[in-house]
């Protein structure tokens, strides 16, 4: 019993560190990717390839002057960024990072906790995340911040619906809401062809659902083309206009943690998580196989993070009415259509 606790705590610490580390290096990657897409080089002075840049940024943020506006609500002003960061980090608890490791007969589960409604848990935590933005924006006592907060909340509520509906079709197919179960189901053969082992990814069954999911993920993470809550041009930074120092850092950082987690969600829900095609043909030892699986999972995550950035530096921002129209008049009907199609497909193939 006790050794299980130690294992869990160890895993939590590792997942925590990986989430933060990935987020930290995502900030560097964002700058590098944006530079490369614009024929520039990007930061390269702090260490080779700018590898120390996140540390330099962190140190800079820590040493900047802490400003709380005179008419701000001090308690809520501090609560906002903290809440945003906490919720961003909490989501990673249910993501299965790999198959259980075999430690001499003891199975070491590479998932912090397997609750049977893992998908819903992620949704709940994400829906709480909007409070961080709303509280911070309101407490700043600034019209730009308030506008950003209001935009964020309405945007997140609207897109959460479509996201949930797109997931329902997937849950209908898998018959389970546990992420572990969903990922394990994707290890089979694609369309029953025995050659395509380990390729039974949901993307091949739910392309429309994935499309809706990824659009909603962009909106939930407040990333371009849906970064209206913080659009620099009209809202001067939006909900974090009044923030400085590490509290601003938390907001910016939590965005990258959110990106990491939603990439992990996309990889595990639609792209087979830790499953690698054709891996079983190599007849590797079990633990090596697990390790390769974890690596593959992270490769998928990194690809999606890159995709987030790629989109950001390609597509301009939506207008607010376009955003709402897309969410309510396009994505939700499409998601419902997807549910119907999935239902028909399940009946036909049964």
């Amino acid at each position: 019993m006790e050794i299980m606790w130690i294992e869990k705590i160890l895993l939590v610490v590792i997942v925590f560190a990986i989430s933060l580390g990935t987020a930290a290096y995502s900030t560097l990657a964002e700058r590098k990717v944006s530079a490369f897409l614009q024929d520039r080089i990007g930061p390269n002075r702090a260490g080779i390839f700018g590898i120390l840049q996140p540390i330099a940024d962190g140190v800079k943020l820590f040493f900047k002057e802490e400003i709380i506006p005179a008419n701000a609500d001090r308690f809520l002003f501090v609560l906002g960024p903290s809440l945003f960061m906490i919720t961003a980090l909490m989501t990673s608890a249910v993501i299965p990072w790999g198959k259980p490791l075999d430690l001499g007969g003891r199975m070491f589960d590479l998932q912090v906790t397997d609750i049977n409604i893992g998908v819903l848990y992620v949704f709940a935590v994400v829906s709480i995340g909007v409070y961080g933005i709303m509280i911070g924006g309101w407490a700043s006592n600034n019209k730009y911040s308030l506008m950003g907060a209001l935009r964020a909340s309405s945007q997140m509520i609207s897109y959460e619906l479509a996201m949930g509906l797109s997931i329902i079709a997937l849950i209908m197919m898998s018959g389970s809401m546990s992420l572990k179960e969903i990922v394990a189901q994707q290890s089979g053969e694609l369309y029953g062809i025995s050659f395509l082992k380990g390729m039974n990814w949901n993307i091949f069954y739910q392309p429309l659902g994935f499309l809706i999911f990824i659009v909603c993920a962009f909106a939930e993470c407040n990333r371009t083309p849906f970064d209206l809550p913080e659009c620099e041009a009209e809202l001067v930074g939006g909900y974090h206009t009044e923030y400085s120092s590490m509290k601003l850092g938390l907001y910016l950082f939590a965005e990258y943690v959110n990106m990491f987690v939603s990439s992990a969600m996309m990889a595990s829900l639609y792209f087979g998580g830790y499953n690698v095609p054709f891996l079983e043909m190599l007849n590797l030892p079990y633990n090596v196989e697990v390790f390769v699986g974890v690596l593959a999972f992270f490769t998928k995550i990194i690809f999606f993070i890159f995709f987030f950035m790629w989109i950001r530096w390609t597509i301009p921002r939506f207008r607010y009415d376009q955003l709402m129209k897309l969410g309510w008049k396009v994505l939700i009907p499409l998601a419902i259509l997807n549910i119907l199609l999935t239902g028909f497909g399940m009946i036909l193939t049964k």
Binding site: I115, L120, Y121, F123, L150, S153, I157
Partner: protein, 165 residues
């Protein structure tokens, strides 16, 4: 262990519910109501009903309270702009609230834990879905019609110049 968690959650629920009523600032009221919902969700988890707990968080804390907060922020309700209700309103509302409380208390005293519900798995998705679509199919569908009518009503209210269109 469970006892301690139960006491902590109950205290949190009661205290934050009291803050909802007594706080002068509407934003604080909404936020403490969110905390209340969280402690209730915690109670659901203690009862092994994770699905209910999560749905409670998603629907109430994650969507409805966000809308509340949205409206309060948009209208910029402050202490000064809050109108004080006339005495008769205060009396009437406290009487109505007290009556509701008595009704709930009576209903609670009347009810007894049914054997089927006290099982260890009542809150799972499977058992909940089975119950909803067998024993309570009619109320479930009726409530969906209720939601539909509410949605239509909202659209009607939201449409400007209904006569012109």
């Amino acid at each position: 262990m469970e006892q301690i968690i139960f006491i902590i959650l109950s205290l949190a629920a009661i205290i934050s519910a009291l803050v909802v009523i007594f706080s002068n600032n509407p934003v604080y009221s909404v936020l403490s109501l969110v905390i209340t919902f969280f402690s209730i969700a915690g109670h659901f988890v203690l009862l092994n009903a994770q699905f209910l707990a999560i749905v409670n968080v998603i629907v109430y804390a994650g969507a409805i309270m966000v809308l509340f907060l949205f409206v309060i922020m948009l209208l910029n309700l402050n202490k000064s702009s809050e109108p004080s209700a006339p005495l008769i309103m205060k009396v009437a509302s406290s009487v109505a609230g007290g009556l509701l409380f008595i009704t709930l208390l009576g209903a609670l005293r009347q009810s007894e834990a049914s054997a089927g519900l006290s099982g260890g798995n009542i809150g799972s998705v499977e058992s909940l879905g089975r119950t909803l679509f067998t024993n309570f199919l009619f109320p479930f569908e009726v409530s969906s019609v209720l939601f539909l009518s509410a949605m239509i009503g909202a659209v009607m209210l939201g449409k400007k110049n209904l006569k012109d269109s």
